[in-house]
């Protein structure tokens, strides 16, 4: 790791000012739990000259959980354990509780989870250059890309790593930000279009800090992760579903796929096909979920995800319908 200066401001205004490159520090960086940032610093992928630590900011709203809002500094473990959220949006606890390991979840924060960098194993190794760094090629394309995309939405083949982000997609979530001109950004606008910008983790400017997330209540919501290992593993594919039910009939549905595209991948065609179906109509629900792979263009090594995706979506829909809501698993 390179030497760096460290500061822990007491309010977001100071933090935001410190995070902007200036005469003293050319490469300041924000740190929340540090789970992702420190990994990147150790690998030499990130060489900040100033680390602005958000953990000392004196603002209780950063740590608060309400029915429709979670502070940016809340840990994944707290999200997973919240009774309040289990009622209002069980999908959030399920997605958070399935990520990583208990140790990681105790430290990792909501804001950091949304803005963490890709786990592409080429990107994570400092000896490889790639499109997402300074290079012109993607070594994963001809290489071993078993954990990469089936939707080639841009030249970079990474899958978005966050468990939480797709959950916010189906909850019509927004992120609260301070430090810039705007105070709310719909989650669907948080990540750049990978066909245009394949290098940025988000559209935020350096001064902008996420202070919380907001979302609608969705008691019939569920998350499914299909993992190779049940302890400490990333999903091969994940499925997210929110259902608005009228008795046993799906009035409307919102579904989204994780680990298949450079951003969370909403599935409007599935949503449309699900609308009006009875939750007991297994055949038609199955058919509706089959079209989740429409538009996919898998790589030779990711063809198996074509089988997994409809299954993940169907299981998420079934869990949401029965408002069990939570498919846990993965407590390392």
């Amino acid at each position: 790791m390179n030497p760096f200066a460290y500061t822990s401001p007491r309010n977001t205004t100071d933090a935001s000012a410190l995070a902007v490159p200036n005469g003293d520090f050319a490469l300041p960086v924000l740190k929340s739990g540090g789970m992702d940032l420190l990994d990147r610093m150790k690998e030499g992928l990130e060489r900040p000259d100033l680390v602005v630590d958000l953990t000392r900011i004196d603002d209780p709203t950063l740590d608060a959980i309400d029915a429709g809002r979670i502070g940016g500094r809340v840990t994944l473990a707290m999200v997973a354990e919240s009774e309040e959220l289990r009622k209002s949006a069980p999908i959030l606890g399920a997605a958070s509780g399935s990520a990583a390991t208990p140790q990681v979840r105790n430290v990792a924060t909501v804001a950091g989870n949304l803005l963490q960098e890709t786990r592409c194993w080429y990107w994570r190794m400092s000896q490889f250059d790639c499109l997402r760094k300074t290079g012109d090629d993607c070594p994963a394309r001809e290489g071993d890309h078993r954990f990469h995309v089936i939707f080639q939405d841009g030249p970079c083949l990474m899958v978005h790593p966050s468990n939480l982000a797709p959950a916010l997609f189906v909850l019509d979530g927004e992120v609260e930000v301070v430090g810039g001109d705007r105070t709310r950004i719909p989650i669907r606008d948080l990540y750049a279009d990978p066909a245009v910008d394949w290098r940025s983790a988000s559209v935020l400017s350096p001064a902008e800090i996420i202070t919380g997330i907001r979302f609608k209540s969705a008691p019939n919501s569920a998350f499914i992760a299909l993992k190779q290992k049940q302890s400490f593993d990333w999903p091969m594919v994940s499925g997210y579903a929110v259902l608005d039910l009228d008795g046993d009939v799906i009035k409307s549905a919102r579904t989204c796929a994780g680990a298949v595209a450079p951003r969370p991948h909403p599935l409007p065609q599935v949503d449309a096909a699900l609308a009006g179906l009875s939750i007991h109509d297994e055949a038609r629900i199955r058919a509706a979920c089959e079209i989740s792979v429409d538009g996919a263009d898998p790589l030779p090594g990711t063809a198996y995800k074509m089988t997994l995706l409809p299954v993940a979506i169907r299981r998420a829909v079934a869990a949401a319908a029965h408002s069990a809501g939570t498919a846990r698993g993965g407590d390392a």
């Binding site: 390179n2 786990r119 194993w121 290489g143 299909l226 993992k227 299954v311």
Partner: protein
């Protein structure tokens, strides 16, 4: 449908020397008080790190030695090469005053490389891609004479060593001597190796390895990290610390080599195998040898067998080192799955076929118990299930031959009745320390609390390295001999003082008795000693009453569930039956078996080194992407210590890891009706297998009871 197997852990009660002893160092290890070599961090010491090649094959373009040397804290930069043959290959090392200076020095070195073409696996070699060779005339005839021929290709991945305590050593000057805190599975082996680099005679070197965090075959040599540490200590005369980090551990401390195995055989309708040819290719990375696999193992009858056809295949990756039962788990996977495939072709229960092909009487009896405990009667015919979750049952087997090495154990009886067991042999986590103490305590007749153990130091009596599963079988006879000598010494004194016949004295729970009469407490008898009494028991490596003549056998049965929509495999239960002669400590013996099953399950489902096909860089030199079994993936394991009438201590270290992957692969075959012939059994492979037609049957299925009759 299938009821959960009964928990029969109680069947192990009374089989061992010590039923209730717990690890003597358990608390120390759990609390972190135990000091490993890697914990020997001193304020004033030098840190060493190798300069490593970042690609599968590359030549060094430039390197700024001056800049590295100018980095504050860097004391030495040694560059001895200008090319790397694999990711992790080293071309020299940097020595610095502290870890940070070391990292900065390496960064300042700014090595730049040109990537060169490289090979990244067995199939990059033409020899392995070639069609199978022709069997010998005799084998060819046997195959032709059989009713059916069968051909298949199997593969297993590179499984890397990655010890919990990484490889390395810390060297501390002590006057004329050097104390070497080594993470090793061979106290005396290291003592012989390190002198060359330290420039010191053997008499001036003391090895300390009181606690060792795993080895599994990879810690017989000091490695490049140890050699560099030795050289740096010699040059500087200072204390030196040279340990791998986790990435280096994955890259350059050895592995279980990969295997490609092609088989052609001829079999009859009743499953009898008339003749077979096996071709094996071992992936040895840059090493010239070490890729052998035991297939066939000799446990099953294959008719006329072609003589072994093995080739080691080189490519640009780190070389193998011995790993727990070298060559065996990969061989067992091929052989046992092959047998299940033949059974299925013939419509036979694979257990019934195994019974016919296996002539070990002990395993025949183990099959009964394994089948009973796993619930074999609930096993559906292979491929007969439909639905999303399908259950499968599978069997695997092992055997382990006898091995032995000379060993000495010293027992010191102190005047307060306390006994000290002294042995230089290392405890790599197997429980050697506890086994020796429990054995001496039981042999003399005193409580375990009376015993302490000094272990893992070259100043203590010599003993074997932990390899070939010979360690406990060889040290146990020495410990028994030492205990007998100590006991005789004390009883002789008592007999003389009390005017009794020493032969009639016994010791029971610390009390010396004659017939039913209490004579004197052990402590009080020892109080008469004017000074500590030291006796040494010796095992000369030759057959003796205390040494277990004979082999160890094992049978494992697995029950899995396969999610046929996702290809995920969940291993639910593993029954692991293992004979090892006389088990010493029940809990550590069980834990040895359970550890084997855990390692074998991890090998079956998850572990594989992944090389980038273009550059040869290892893409998963960490525990995030090099997947190993975690708590949620662990089956319920029932270890069964199989005693029979056996005396003497036999091998237990390696055999339990042999059958597991084979049993799991067979269970998966049973569940889904198609064999998955490549390890690890990843979801994508299971899905690909499910997309294939059901495995072929050449003989109509026989009704179940006909199977049983066939056996007779």
């Amino acid at each position: 449908m299938s009821q959960p197997p009964r928990d029969l852990r109680a069947i192990n009660a009374g089989q061992s020397v010590a039923d209730h002893a717990t690890r003597l160092d358990g608390l120390e290890k759990a609390t972190g008080a135990a000091r490993y070599g890697r914990d020997q961090i001193k304020k004033d010491m030098l840190w060493v790190r190798l300069i490593r090649c970042p690609w599968g094959r590359a030549s060094l373009d430039s390197l700024d030695r001056d800049a590295a040397l100018a980095t504050p804290g860097v004391v030495e930069v040694v560059v001895s090469g200008d090319a790397g043959e694999y990711h992790g290959d080293s071309i020299g090392y940097v020595v610095a005053r502290n870890r940070r200076a070391l990292e900065r020095g390496l960064q300042a070195l700014d090595a730049t490389w040109t990537r060169l073409d490289c090979k990244t696996g067995i199939l990059d070699d033409e020899k392995a891609r070639a069609p199978m060779g022709d069997p010998s005339a005799e084998t060819a005839k046997a195959i032709d004479d059989a009713a059916f021929t069968f051909e298949a290709t199997y593969s297993t991945p590179v499984q890397t060593h990655s010890s919990l305590e990484t490889h390395g050593l810390m060297i501390e000057p002590d006057g004329e001597n050097s104390i070497v805190h080594a993470s090793t599975q061979g106290t005396f082996v290291v003592a012989d190796q390190i002198g060359r680099f330290l420039g010191k005679p053997r008499s001036k070197i003391i090895i300390d390895c009181e606690h060792v965090g795993g080895g599994f075959g990879s810690k017989f040599q000091i490695g490049k990290e140890g050699a560099a540490g030795g050289l740096a200590a010699k040059t500087s005369g200072e204390a030196v610390y040279s340990f791998c980090d986790r990435e280096e551990e994955h890259l350059d401390t050895g592995n279980r080599p990969s295997l490609l195995c092609k088989v052609r055989l001829g079999h009859d309708a009743d499953g009898t195998i008339r003749g077979a040819r096996f071709e094996t290719f071992g992936g040895t990375g840059v090493s010239r040898r070490g890729g052998g696999a035991r297939v066939p193992s000799g446990r099953f009858e294959f008719g006329t067998l072609d003589s072994p056809n093995h080739q080691d295949i080189q490519f640009n990756a780190g070389g193998p080192r011995a790993m727990r039962a070298p060559g065996c788990p990969q061989g067992a996977f091929v052989e046992e799955l092959l047998i299940d495939e033949i059974a299925h072709r013939c419509g036979l229960d694979p257990l019934a076929l195994r019974r016919r092909l296996d002539d070990s009487e002990r395993r025949q009896r183990m099959y009964d118990v394994a089948a009973d405990l796993i619930g074999w009667e609930n096993r559906a015919d292979t491929g007969s299930q439909t639905g999303t979750m399908r259950t499968g049952y599978g069997i695997g087997t092992c055997h382990w031959g006898k091995g032995r090495a000379p060993a000495k154990i010293e027992v010191v009886v102190h005047p307060d009745g306390h006994l000290e067991v002294r042995t230089g042999t290392q405890d790599i986590g197997t429980g050697q320390r506890t086994a020796m103490a429990a054995l001496v305590a039981a042999r003399i007749g005193v409580p375990l609390a009376n015993i302490s153990v000094a272990i893992g130091n070259s100043m203590l009596p010599a003993g074997p390295a932990s390899g070939g599963s010979v360690c406990t079988p060889s040290t146990a006879p020495a410990a028994m001999a030492a205990a007998d000598l100590a006991r005789e010494r004390i009883l002789a004194g008592v007999a003389e003082r009390e005017k009794l016949d020493a032969d009639r004295l016994t010791i029971d729970d610390g009390v010396i008795m004659e017939g039913g009469r209490k004579v004197i407490r052990w402590e009080d008898a020892c109080r008469r000693l004017s000074e500590p009494v030291s006796v040494t028991g010796e095992f000369d490596g030759q057959a003796s009453a205390h040494w277990g003549e004979g082999s160890s056998e094992g049978v494992q049965a697995a029950r899995v569930e396969v999610d046929c929509e996702t290809g995920q495999i969940f291993v639910r239960d593993v029954i692991a039956i293992q004979s090892c002669g006389l088990p010493l400590v029940r809990k550590t013996a069980e834990s040895q078996i359970m550890g084997g099953v855990i390692q074998g399950t991890s090998y079956a489902l998850f572990e594989e080194q992944v090389l980038d096909p273009g550059t040869g860089a290892v893409l998963n030199a960490n525990f995030e992407n090099y997947k190993i079994l975690g708590s949620e993936d662990c089956p319920r394991i029932v270890p069964v210590l199989w005693r029979d009438d056996q005396t003497g201590v036999r091998a237990l270290g390696e055999p339990p890891v042999v059958p597991t992957a084979a049993a799991i692969a067979n269970a998966v075959f049973n569940a889904i009706g198609r064999p998955v012939r490549d390890l690890p059994l990843r979801p994508d492979r299971v899905l690909a297998a499910l997309a294939e037609p059901m495995a072929e049957r050449v003989v109509a299925a026989a009704p179940r009871n006909a199977d049983l009759e066939n056996r007779a």
